[in-house]
C-alpha cells in the first residue's frame, strides 16, 4: 500500500503557484498529488492543520553543519534536526569543515553521513579554492561528480581578482553557481563589528561597509564580463543593495541573500558586548537594515538564508574580541522573519514564504520549494501566532549561540514533512 498523507483544513500558501487558500494538501509516496481516491483517503495519515499555515518546506542556502571536524558544535544529525525544527526541509551546507570540502573524498564522507544521519535534504557545496586559501582553484569538476550543488569558500572571500575571475569561469562550465561572502580582508583585519557610532562607543575595531561594497562590486563586474552566475551571501550594506539592483537592471546574472539577523538587528544589539551578536558581515546601522528589508520585499534581494553558524557556549563565553563570529539561525528564522517583516506590515505572508522556499531553490537550481503536483512532498506546517521561548532545551542544535536566547518569539513550526513523512522531533 502506498504511503498517503492528507493535510486538512490549513491555509495552503504556495507562492510558486500563486496559491493562497484554505484547503487540503495531499501526498502519495513522497510526492504531491492533486487528489486522492476515496480508498486512499481512508488509508491516509491525516494531519489536521486547521488554523495553521501549510507551505512548501523551507530551503536554506547557507548552513554550517560543522561535520567533519567540529562535531562538538554541530553534526549532520543535530543540524538537520534543527533544520526540521525551523521548518527547513532542504539545506545547503558550507564547505568550511575540517578538513575543508575541497576534494571528492571529503564530499563522499559528507554524503555518507547525510545518508546515515540527516532527517532533511542536505545539499553539500565544495570549496572554490584549495584549502579555502584563495590561491589555487579547487577541483570543481571532480567535486561536482562527487555531488556538490555549488562552489564557495564559505566565509572566506577570494581576495585575488584574477583567481576569482577564473574560478567563476571554470564553475560556469559545470553549470555551478559561485556563492561568495564579500569582504575585503585587508579592510576588516582584527575588526569585530560594524564601523559606526557603536564601534566608536564600545572601542571595538569596526568593519567598514566599503569592505563589503568593494567585493560585491568586484563580483558584479566579473559576473558581467564572464556571464557566470554568482550569488552574494549575507548582504548587509545599503550600498551593496544598490550595486545589486543596478546589476540586475543590466541583466548581470547575480543573486543575493539576506539573513534574518541582518533584517531584525542593528549594531546597537552589541552595546553590552553580547558575543551572540558577533557576526560577519556585522550587524549594521538602522539605515542599512531598512534598505535590506525594502530590497527583499521588492525582489532586489532574492531570498533569506540563515547563515546558521553554531558555536559552543564555551567559545562564545569570553572576551568579545576573542569570541568567534556567527550565530545560530535555523530554528529562529521563521519567528524572526514573521515578526520583522509580516507583523510590521513590510510584506505579506506569501512574499515571506516565497523568500524562504522557491526563490532560494531557484538560485542554485534545486527542484524544491513548491507544492506543484509531482514535486517532492516537502511541506512545512506552522502556527504564526504560537509563542515559544528560545531556551537551550527548546533547541535541537548542539549549540545555543542565539541572540534571542531567553526571549519569547511568535511563530512555531508544527510539522515538517520530508518526502511526505513528518520528521519534526526525530
Amino acid at each position: 500500500m502506498s504511503e498517503i498523507l492528507c493535510i486538512t483544513g490549513g491555509r495552503v500558501i504556495d507562492p510558486a503557484n500563486h496559491r493562497d487558500e484554505t484547503g487540503d494538501l495531499y501526498a502519495r509516496d513522497g510526492k504531491i498529488v492533486s487528489s486522492l481516491t476515496e480508498a486512499e483517503r481512508d488509508a491516509a495519515t491525516v494531519f489536521d492543520a486547521t488554523g495553521l499555515v501549510v507551505c512548501p518546506g523551507f530551503v536554506d542556502l547557507h548552513t554550517h553543519l560543522r561535520e567533519p571536524g567540529d562535531s562538538h558544535k554541530e553534526t549532520i544529525a543535530s543540524g538537520t534536526r534543527a533544520a526540521a525544527a525551523g521548518g527547513y526541509t532542504s539545506i545547503v551546507c558550507m564547505p568550511n569543515t575540517k578538513p575543508p570540502a575541497d576534494n571528492a573524498g571529503t564530499i563522499q564522507f559528507i554524503k555518507e553521513r547525510i545518508e546515515r544521519d540527516a532527517v532533511v535534504n542536505v545539499f553539500p557545496t565544495g570549496c572554490l579554492t584549495v584549502g579555502r586559501e584563495g590561491k589555487k582553484l579547487a577541483p570543481t569538476g571532480s567535486l561536482k561528480e562527487a555531488g556538490i550543488v555549488a562552489v564557495t569558500d564559505g566565509g572566506h572571500c577570494v581576495q585575488n581578482n584574477e583567481i576569482m575571475r577564473r574560478a567563476l569561469e571554470y564553475a560556469a562550465m559545470f553549470g555551478l553557481v559561485v556563492l561568495d561572502h564579500c569582504e575585503d580582508a585587508a579592510m576588516t583585519d582584527k575588526c569585530a563589528m560594524h564601523e559606526g557610532e557603536w564601534s566608536l562607543r564600545l572601542g571595538l575595531r569596526g568593519m567598514s561597509r566599503s569592505a563589503e561594497d568593494i567585493m560585491v562590486t568586484r563580483d558584479v563586474i566579473l559576473s558581467a564580463h564572464s556571464g557566470a552566475r554568482i550569488h552574494i551571501q549575507q548582504l548587509s550594506s545599503a550600498y551593496s543593495v544598490d550595486v545589486i539592483r543596478r546589476a540586475k537592471e543590466r541583466g548581470v546574472p547575480v543573486t543575493a541573500e539576506v539573513t534574518p539577523q541582518h533584517l531584525a538587528l542593528t549594531d546597537e544589539a552589541l552595546k553590552n558586548y553580547d558575543t551572540h551578536c558577533k557576526t560577519v558581515p556585522p550587524l549594521r546601522a538602522e539605515s542599512d537594515r531598512q534598505t535590506l528589508i525594502e530590497a527583499l520585499c521588492d525582489g532586489t534581494i532574492d531570498c533569506i538564508a540563515t547563515a546558521h553558524a553554531p558555536h559552543t557556549e564555551m567559545e562564545k563565553d569570553r572576551e568579545f574580541d576573542y569570541a568567534p563570529f556567527g550565530m545560530n539561525g535555523l530554528e529562529t528564522a521563521l519567528s524572526i522573519c514573521l515578526q520583522t517583516l509580516v507583523e510590521t506590515g513590510r510584506c505579506d505572508l506569501s512574499t515571506l514564504i516565497a523568500c524562504l522556499t522557491h526563490k532560494p531553490a531557484a538560485v542554485i537550481g534545486l527542484p524544491k520549494g513548491t507544492l506543484s503536483e509531482g514535486a517532492d512532498a516537502d511541506i512545512t506546517v506552522f502556527d504564526p501566532g504560537a509563542e515559544w521561548t528560545v531556551t537551550p532545551e527548546a533547541l535541537q542544535s548542539l549549540s545555543h549561540n542565539s541572540p534571542w536566547l531567553g526571549q519569547t518569539l511568535r511563530g512555531k513550526v508544527t510539522a515538517t514533512f520530508v518526502n511526505g513523512r513528518n520528521v519534526l522531533g526525530r
Binding site: 559606526g196 557610532e197 566608536l200 562607543r201 572601542g203 571595538l204 575595531r205 569570553r318 572576551e319 568579545f320
Partner: protein, 317 residues
C-alpha cells in the same frame, strides 16, 4: 569616613554609566583622601583585611603602581598578577581565572585587559567588585576621573563652559573615550583633534567637535590633553610615520603659542617625548602631568573605597 548612600555600584567599568551625582561623590571622596597624602603616616584603615588582586593582562607601569599604592594606603593587601605570568597564557579562560581568584578569597579585582568589554564581562561573572583599569580601546575610567579632578583643581569645581581639546590618537584611545563622557557630564566642551584617520568624523555623534586644523583646535582650549601615539597598536595604514605625525600634530613651543596664556597641558603618560609633546613643554609650568599622577592616587583610593563599601568590604562601616 562614611561612604555616601548615593553610591550603590559594586563595580566601576565605564564613565558613560555614571550620573553627575556619582561623579561628584567620587571627587568629594578623592578630596578627602588627597588631604591625607601629605601625612607622615599615610595609611588609612579603610580596607584593612581586604585582599585586592591587580590583574594586569597588558603592560602598565603607572596605572598598576597607582592602584597598588592606592590600595596599600587604604591598608588592603595587594597582589599583582601580570598577564604574561598568569595561567591565561596557558589557555585558561578569563572566567576560570576570575573564579579561581574568587575561590582564593580575594575581595576585589582591578583589571587591565587588551579586549574592549573585558571588564564588563568580568563584572558579570564574579561577585567581587571589579575596577576597570583599561579595557582595549573602550574605557579607562579612573584616568578620566583623575584628569577631571586635576582640571577642577586648576579651574574650580565647576567645569561648565570650559574647553578641553584632546589631541592625538583618539580612535584607539580608551582615555579619550572616557574623557569625552566625563567632561561632557561635567559641562565642558570637548574638541577632538588629530589626523583624520585617527579622529573620524563619526565622533561628532557623541556630542563633541572634531577638528583636523591644529591651530583652530588649540585656539580656545583651556586645557589640551595629549595622547600617546600608540604606534604599536596601529597598522601602518593610519599615519605615514611618527616623524610625519610630529611635524603635523606634535605640540611644540611654536604651536603652544596658539593656546590661551593660562591654558594647561595634560598627558596620561607615558609620554613619547619629542613625538606628541616636546620635552620643554612637558616640563614647563603649564604642564600638570605630574599633578595628574598624584591625583591618580586619591581618585583610585576613592573608587576602591566606594566600591568596597557597596560590597561591605570596608572596615570603616
Amino acid at each position: 569616613m562614611t561612604p555616601s548612600p548615593a553610591w550603590t555600584r559594586k563595580d566601576l567599568i565605564a564613565i558613560e554609566d555614571l550620573s553627575r551625582e556619582e561623579l561628584d561623590i567620587i571627587f568629594a571622596t578623592a578630596e578627602s583622601f588627597k588631604s591625607t597624602l601629605g601625612r607622615s603616616v599615610k595609611k588609612l584603615p579603610s580596607l584593612r583585611g581586604v585582599t585586592v588582586v591587580n590583574l594586569f593582562m597588558e603592560p602598565s607601569t603607572r596605572t598598576r603602581l597607582a592602584f597598588e599604592i592606592a590600595a596599600t594606603r587604604l591598608s588592603a593587601d595587594v597582589i599583582s598578577v601580570m598577564g604574561d605570568a598568569s595561567s591565561l597564557v596557558k589557555g585558561e579562560t578569563l572566567r576560570d581565572t576570575a573564579l579561581n581568584i574568587q575561590a582564593l578569597s580575594a575581595d576585589m579585582i582591578i583589571m587591565r585587559h587588551s579586549a574592549a568589554g573585558a571588564a564588563k564581562y568580568l563584572s558579570e561573572i564574579t561577585d567581587m567588585p571589579v575596577i576597570n583599569a583599561g579595557d582595549g580601546a573602550h574605557a579607562h575610567p579612573t584616568q578620566a576621573l583623575l584628569d577631571a579632578y586635576t582640571l577642577r583643581e586648576k579651574f574650580g569645581p565647576d567645569l561648565t563652559g570650559k574647553h578641553v581639546t584632546i589631541l592625538g590618537d583618539i580612535l584607539f584611545s580608551r582615555v579619550a573615550r572616557s574623557n569625552i563622557w566625563c567632561l561632557k557630564k561635567l559641562g565642558a566642551h570637548v574638541t577632538l583633534a588629530g589626523p583624520s584617520t585617527l579622529v573620524p568624523r563619526e565622533f561628532e555623534n557623541l556630542g563633541v567637535r572634531v577638528c583636523h586644523d591644529l591651530k583652530q583646535a588649540l585656539a580656545d582650549a583651556d586645557a589640551v590633553m595629549l595622547l600617546r601615539i600608540q604606534h604599536e597598536r596601529q597598522t601602518s595604514t593610519h599615519f605615514p610615520s611618527l616623524g610625519e605625525y610630529t611635524s603635523m600634530f606634535g605640540l611644540n613651543k611654536r604651536r603652544a603659542a596658539w593656546l590661551k596664556p593660562n591654558a594647561i597641558i595634560m598627558h596620561p603618560g607615558p609620554i613619547n617625548r619629542g613625538v606628541e609633546l616636546d620635552s620643554d613643554l612637558a616640563d614647563s609650568s603649564r604642564s600638570v602631568i605630574l599633578d595628574q599622577v598624584t591625583n591618580g592616587i586619591a581618585v583610585r583610593m576613592a573608587v576602591l573605597y566606594l566600591c568596597a563599601s557597596t560590597k561591605s568590604l570596608s572596615t570603616a562601616q
